[in-house]
């Protein structure tokens, strides 16, 4: 309890930023808050400290700024909090003796009451988290099947010739995913061919059968690595690009615009990408096969195998069935990459983070699809005896 007329609070040793004086007349229960000195952000008393300095039984607080030299947002911040506090305690805050600019800023800040957030914090029990995970997996599977269904319907419409798919779009995406991918496919296929040759020659040399390196490389490239490595490259290169393109279109409301024009996003956006990739993948696969075999030849000829011998051996090792198995794989891989990329893009959220997530999703999902599909194909071919 204050017995003294004056209650002075010193905030800083070098400067007095505020002091509180209580009226001598105890019945009126008024007090005056004198603000002084220079109020700069980062150099002001904590608001809680200031509020604590005010006598509790006050019902009117008069703010006086006669001794104030300069101020910035920090003063408004403090007074805004003080006014909110006063409102809660039914105390009147009298700002008549403060600068006009400050009063107007505070009016602006208080004219719209704070939004009462209706957001509730979810209780994160283990059971609920588990339930949510199961639900999201289920939802993911549902959307994937729905997406595949819609693409199939659009493809049907395209074959019947009444899909809104533009030919120039297909050509554009063929150009993007085909010729422009040649350099990286060349590099990877050449190296994979060389790796296979090294791997084989180390083993086969022990048996004196180095020449069979040609068989190993040829069969390995044509049946397996040509298709798979091209697909992995395209998943990282084209699948991610599809997801980013469509995701950005989603963010820019371009997909909404298409929908409201009555244009099916499946026919207009997904089909050209899918068709382009399905057409390009087998070609890239054959190209990768050839380059891989050349890579193998480079290694083999440096290890006492005659080049001509290598070529003849390769011709004998590979037949049309082998080449076809690889091509069929590559077509399916193309479909899977396009589906993974487009689905991630179409269902992308509406901010920049979501686009990044869509691209990541597209690549991860495509690679999982590829490896699973490749295993399935190999089992199938084995059962068929080809």
């Amino acid at each position: 309890m204050l017995t003294n007329n004056h209650f002075i609070h010193i905030v800083q040793e070098d400067a007095l930023l505020y002091r509180v004086e209580q009226d001598a007349d105890q019945t009126s229960a008024r007090c005056t808050l004198y603000l002084a000195g220079t109020w700069r952000l980062g150099n002001t008393p904590a608001t809680t400290e200031l509020i604590a300095a005010l006598p509790g039984q006050c019902n009117t607080i008069i703010v006086n700024t006669k001794e104030l030299e300069a101020w910035d947002s920090s003063l408004a911040i403090t007074l805004l909090q003080l006014s909110r506090q006063c409102e809660q305690q039914n105390t009147q805050l009298d700002l008549q003796q403060t600068p006009d600019g400050l009063q107007q800023l505070l009016n602006l800040a208080t004219s719209i009451p704070p939004y009462q957030s209706s957001k509730t914090n979810d209780t994160t029990s283990l059971w609920k988290t588990l339930l949510r995970v199961v639900h999201s997996v289920q939802h993911g599977a549902e959307t994937t099947f729905a997406f595949i269904g819609e693409v199939t319907l659009a493809l049907g419409a395209w074959f019947r010739g009444n899909a809104k798919t533009r030919r120039q779009d297909i050509l554009f995406f063929i150009e993007q995913s085909g010729p422009r991918a040649l350099a990286i496919v060349t590099l990877i296929a050449l190296l994979v061919g060389m790796i296979l040759a090294y791997l084989g020659s180390v083993q086969l040399r022990q048996l004196g059968a180095q020449v069979y390196v040609a068989d190993l490389v040829a069969i390995g490239m044509v049946r397996e690595m040509g298709a798979l490595m091209t697909a992995v490259i395209m998943a990282g290169r084209t699948g991610a690009a599809y997801a980013a393109q469509l995701g950005t279109m989603q963010v820019n409301e371009e997909i909404d615009a298409l929908k409201t024009m009555g244009i099916s996003t499946m026919e207009f956006l997904v089909l050209p990408r899918l068709i382009a990739l399905v057409l390009v993948m087998p070609l890239l696969c054959i190209y990768a096969d050839v380059i891989g075999i050349i890579g193998g030849a480079i290694v083999a000829t440096s290890m006492d195998v005659n080049f001509l011998q290598y070529i003849l051996q390769t011709q004998g090792a590979v037949d049309w069935v082998d080449i076809t198995t690889g091509l069929i794989k590559s077509i399916f891989f193309g479909i899977l990459i396009a589906l993974a990329g487009c689905q991630a893009g179409i269902y992308c959220g509406r901010n920049s983070d979501a686009v990044g997530m869509a691209a990541t999703n597209a690549v991860v999902r495509a690679i999982v699809y590829l490896v699973v599909a490749d295993a399935a194909f190999n089992i199938l071919y084995d059962k068929m005896g080809i």
Binding site: L105, A109, P114, S352, D353
Partner: protein
Amino acid sequence: MDTAPFISVRNLNIGYGSRVVQENLNFDIQKNDIFFIIGGSGCGKTTLLKHMIGLIAPSKGEVLYEGVNFYQSDEDTQLKLLQRWGITYQSGALFSSMTLAENVALPMQLYTDLSEAQIAETVAYKLALVGLAGYEAFYPSELSGGMHKRAGLARAIALDPQLLFFDEPSAGLDPISSLRLDQLIVQICKALNSTVIIVSHELPSILSIGTNSVFLDAQAKTMLDSGDPKQLLEHSEQEKVRQFLSRAGTAR
């Protein structure tokens, strides 16, 4: 008023690469001006702004900030200038992966040594100023377009800038919010002792709060006039400027 201009634009050509949008711009902006860049759609208002905020270097001419040429300064000087500017973009340009509070707090976290509690207080105040108190934990994607704009403004004034740039602040806002924003600009300009540069074609704003302006024209590819918009409305020698400011002579 100090006679030396706060910002002076000298023989400035603006454009993208080899495409010149406006040429030979000359005008001064005084301290505490509320300066409008006026002109019809597509005449290069935003492009001029981009030249003034350090995004595009001009092909010819210069922009001086109290005598300092931004594009010819070293990195430290540029950074110091940038910290004294607050810029709001047409659509808010909020970082979508951060909440409103994090968006507004970012410049303070990077450029001041305020404590987390002080930053939180300041963020609450800045959001309250633009009428977004209580929205701290919201992500930009959960808000309307007008709210984006206001939140963008809260971020722009986070560091109490001396120079505030607005790109079409009231486009897409309802008349009441627009009026509020105008008041806010005037208040902030007074309270922070700052200078404001606004790209706009909203006549009510231009005529009520503008103290200085430049009028760009798409056909002439240069400025037609500059000065206090209220003066230009009555006394501009250019027919086109008077027409524009009086909405082609119709009663407003």
